[in-house]
Symmetry: C2
């Protein structure tokens, strides 16, 4: 089939319902959970989402309703660009406005660690875990996104979702070697997670600190955080659509993340 | 070909370069032009884009760079949802968070009116103009986006781009009957334009006022404004990706708009 025919066939299957669009995005609202940094460090804080009504079919605009909005680049379901981390700062085309657009549409490999994350909120995915997954589903191909399914997004209470105790956060993440493996040996575009950030809750105590940010962005790779509905994706065969806003020199951006999947049960 | 095979083939063509991703999005920055409303009306104003640096690998965040952002829902390249207009206010699933996700990935029909817009900045596309286009390129199929190519986005000076004179704005748009035709007889998802809003500069003087907003949203259809790079799309055969942020009850949203096209010259 020619490229034109493939696009036409995809379009036709979208209209007929043979391919469906799965929304992997949380709703952006003031209650949307955001990363909590330890206040005693004096670090700058990212805004939660907020909106101000400009008009709603009233004397501020008789026929129209619209809002102004505020948030952090890393609020809600969002994209992390390599420039976000100091290890990625010297790459070329490493910000939301300069990343090549083909990074935003690519295959997704969805690795299920639901049982492990339920048993241990500090679960760190290992290289062996991925290799065992590949034995069943096939090797992760270059230029793909790896999505880390934990069902963590099903925690509707923000305190449970962020899971911060006196000694810090407790949410699943990555062993540093796993990040290196995915970036270097599988040449992924990036990784996506259901938790509030791409790293584990205990990432400040890992070596290196925040290994997913440090090593993934160091390799000029990207991230996606606060995804949901990963349980609606097949392990392989979904096409991920994850376009950040084209913010000039942006470190990331809230994003509407979608996936195209066969409508039939896989 | 099965839906799975079509997705796999598309993914493979994206990796091999047989299909490319065209970015139809303007960069979001403080200079990004925004809709100017007549100040004497007392209508509420939409914010331009702005950002505040939270940290840049410094004592506000030693290893990371990130920003907080502010803008209007209708700032820069953006999506208009039916709830944006009073005529669309009573539809179901008419806001950025409730629109069905399949509206965000659909075929694009690109109608070239570059010569007409250059000759007359007040050019209004007629039904006959579209029917003549269809004679050459085929009928616009249901469930598609219609994109209005004017090369207006090539005006790099904001004053030229907005083209506001003492008597108001002068940028191309639609005759009211054309909007009705596309919404009712071609059952489009919506229309996209290169100008700052989906309506002509002279829309306040049309009957009805702002016909594209009034009639398109009245028919529960959507809009896209401030697109660019439409000259890189074939008249038919592109797949448009136009996902708004999932703002709760949002009237629209800045969006990263992309298109998948065959890499070979059409
Ligand atoms: Mn982030
Ligand atoms: Mn608008």
């Amino acid at each position: 089939m020619s490229p034109s025919d493939v696009i036409a066939e995809l379009a036709s299957l979208l209209v007929s319902g043979g391919i469906k669009v799965v929304d992997l995005t949380r709703t952006l609202e003031p209650e949307t959970p955001v990363l909590q940094l330890p206040p005693e460090m004096g670090w700058g804080e990212s805004w939660p989402f907020s909106m101000e009504e400009i008009s709603k079919y009233d004397d501020r605009g008789p026929a129209w309703y619209w809002n102004n909005i505020k948030c952090g680049e890393h609020t809600g379901t969002h994209f992390d660009a390599p420039i976000h981390w100091v290890t990625g700062k010297d790459h070329e085309n490493h910000a939301t406005d300069t990343l090549p657009a083909d990074r935003f549409v690519a295959p997704a490999f969805v690795i299920d660690a639901v049982a492990e994350a339920a048993a241990d909120p500090d679960f760190l995915m290992s290289v062996d875990f991925i290799k065992a997954w590949e034995k069943t589903h096939g090797e992760i191909t270059p230029g793909a996104w790896v999505l880390y399914r934990t069902d963590w997004s099903k925690k509707t209470d923000n305190a449970d979702y962020l899971n911060i105790r006196e000694d810090g956060g407790h949410t699943p993440g990555w062993a540093p070697a796993t990040v290196e493996f995915l970036a270097r040996e599988r040449n992924v575009i990036g990784v996506g997670v259901e938790t509030v950030g791409t790293d584990a809750g205990i990432a400040p105590t890992q070596d290196p600190m925040f290994p997913c940010h440090n090593l993934m962005h160091g390799a000029n790779k990207c991230g996606l955080a606060s995804l949901c509905n990963l349980d609606q994706l097949p392990p392989t065969g979904a096409l991920l659509i994850a376009p950040p806003l084209k913010i000039k020199n942006g470190s990331g951006s809230p994003a509407r993340v979608l996936a195209l999947v066969p409508a039939r049960k896989y």
